[in-house]
């Protein structure tokens, strides 16, 4: 059940719906958390109004990182957009590459080869592991457990090594292009990936002991940051936040893409919808990704092309149309809405990131009545990435 505080001492909404807060009364204090606060996920800030140690109002402020990517893409040819799309979400760039490439392929009528579908799925699952490892470190760090971040950074670095040997890059891979992927897997990749996966599993066992079985972590997360299941569709909640409420919502199952229909898995679900459950759902999802990578490497074909023939990309014109392509990233539904007008440039690209809905409207709703010391943990538990809000 959600925590129901006594609101009689707190400001009431006025006739215009806004809280009637008299800052001169000395009862309330306004302070900013962020934009460069270590407990805030990146460059965003929350304008808090507190009464004692309880938040009575929180307003999110973004814009410190806005790069106008959607506008920049309108001035670039379809292929020139690739260095931009992967930078929209820094910790998990591959979803942008996949969604953009899939949207372009759909409008241009391009089919991708079988092996490329498997390699794309492999990359997306590797990216998901990277993102979850970063999250686990952040979630523990927001509650003062810095060591978890060091451990998860170590294993994430091993996964970046696998990315580097596969794509030549560690963070921005630009490996998924319209038509397929750039190359096949390098020789000996499977064995080295297995070693990395075993290291991740062994580190997660330690994380379990120190983070998930820790009395302090439990006390500060169980029952805190409760998200009411009634808010699911009102606030467009997707991904682990929705699954922690008990809804088995997973685009990989609901609207299957790539080779997910050929893999054996079930969406990870929790039921308590608090910070602890969300962390646990992500931990189990991470282990599921480890299993999915093993399944992919065991089943994927190793022969055949990885790239379909493309027109001359420098003079590539895509017919008039519009589409929306989605995928399940580590934070929820990620999608690209692409509109073309028959020219060599996208007419409009709109990125639908889960951080946008979670970090703005939902956070402002959840933060009311939250203890000021729990704000950082609450924000991290929604797993928001500001570059995706301010694309």
């Amino acid at each position: 059940m959600a925590y129901q505080p006594d609101r009689s001492q707190y400001p009431q909404p006025g006739p215009d719906g806004k809280l009637d807060i008299d800052l001169t009364s000395g009862k309330y204090l306004k302070l900013w958390q962020g934009p460069n606060h270590p407990g805030i996920t990146g460059n965003m800030s929350v304008e808090l109004t507190v009464c004692g140690d309880e938040v009575v109002e929180g307003k999110t402020h973004v814009g410190y990182l806005h790069r106008g990517f959607e506008k920049l893409m309108e001035r670039r040819t379809f292929i020139q957009c690739f260095p931009i799309v992967c930078r929209i979400c820094v910790p998990e760039p591959d979803f942008n590459e996949y969604c953009y490439a899939a949207a372009v392929e759909e409008l241009a009528g391009i089919e991708i080869p079988e092996q490329a579908r498997w390699i794309r799925t492999l990359i997306l699952e590797m990216g998901r592991i990277n993102s979850y490892l970063m999250y686990l470190g952040g979630q523990a760090g927001a509650l003062g457990q810095g060591v978890i971040g060091q451990w998860t950074t170590y294993v994430r670095d091993l996964m970046l090594d696998r990315f580097e040997e596969m794509t030549g890059a560690r963070i921005y891979h630009m490996f998924i292009l319209p038509g397929g992927v750039r190359d096949t897997l390098p020789e000996g990749f499977d064995g080295r990936m297995e070693e990395t996966l075993q290291e991740i599993e062994s580190t997660l066992a330690d994380v379990d002991k120190v983070m998930f079985h820790n009395a302090v972590f439990k006390k500060r997360t169980i029952g805190v940051g409760y998200v009411d299941p009634a808010l699911l569709d009102q606030y467009g909640i997707t991904g682990p936040v929705a699954r922690a409420m008990g809804f088995p919502r997973d685009v990989r199952k609901d609207d299957p893409y790539l080779v997910y229909p050929e893999l054996d898995f079930e969406p990870v679900v929790g039921k308590d919808s608090d910070i602890y459950t969300r962390a646990d759902v992500r931990r189990r999802d991470l282990l599921m990704s480890v299993d999915l990578i093993r399944q992919i490497l065991a089943k994927m074909p190793r022969m055949g092309p990885v790239m379909s023939p493309l027109p001359n990309v420098l003079h590539w014109q895509i017919p008039h149309g519009e589409t929306y392509v989605r995928g399940e990233c580590s934070r929820g539904e990620y999608g690209y809405y692409l509109v073309t007008d028959g020219s060599g440039y996208p007419r409009r690209v709109n990125v639908r990131g889960p951080s946008y809905t979670h970090a703005m409207a939902l956070l402002e709703r959840l933060i009311v009545n939250c203890n000021i010391s729990d704000v950082a943990a609450l924000l991290v538990s929604l797993h928001t990435y500001p570059p995706e809000i301010e694309r």
Partner: protein
């Protein structure tokens, strides 16, 4: 999806239909008829998830296109509703009471495209741009290069060269 379209057609006046995929349709709707249609789709047809709300600037036609993308998760289908607005007077009814999260999209659209949604919460608070007093930046007629030149000074010693002339001078110095 065609069944759904025929059912909706018997209840509402609908415009052009585009079938993008078996599970993705786009329908054009008049701005005054959007709200009852959205309410019906949300409450009766299972399209309870507002995936996104965004705008496309059709500068040549003098119109803005608003796209409301809805998803019915149980039957795995998406429906995009296109609303065309007069670009000279872009005002649209707010739907924040149907989906609270729409208020965030509307704030962004007001700032980036200059489309007004009267009554939407915090609409006139700055969202991303501080002190912006010129054409909204995501409109097609906003020239990013001209804006940058008017707002920011060039670094001292910086030169701008025509790439073709520059490369000729580099490759064939004897001819220059």
């Amino acid at each position: 999806m065609r069944e759904l379209y025929q059912r909706l057609q018997s209840l509402f006046v609908l415009g052009e239909l585009t079938e993008q995929r078996a599970n993705l349709f786009f329908i054009t709707v008049d701005k005054d008829r959007l709200r009852p249609l959205l309410t019906h789709l949300r409450d009766r047809e299972g399209f309870s998830h507002l995936v996104l709300l965004t705008a496309v600037d059709w500068l040549e036609d003098g119109q803005f296109q608003l796209t409301y993308l809805l998803c019915d998760r149980l039957s795995r289908r998406d429906l995009g509703l296109r609303v065309m607005l007069d670009r000279a007077n872009p005002v649209m009814e707010s739907i924040h009471d149907l989906w609270p999260t729409a208020a965030t999209y509307q704030r962004e659209l007001r700032e980036m495209f200059g489309i007004d949604f009267p009554g939407s919460p915090r609409l006139h608070e700055e969202f991303i741009l501080e002190g912006w007093n010129t054409t909204p930046p995501y409109r097609r007629d906003f020239d990013t290069l001209e804006y940058a030149r008017s707002q920011y000074a060039e670094r001292a010693g910086r030169e701008t060269r025509d790439p073709e002339t520059h490369m000729r001078a580099q490759l064939y110095p004897e001819k220059h």
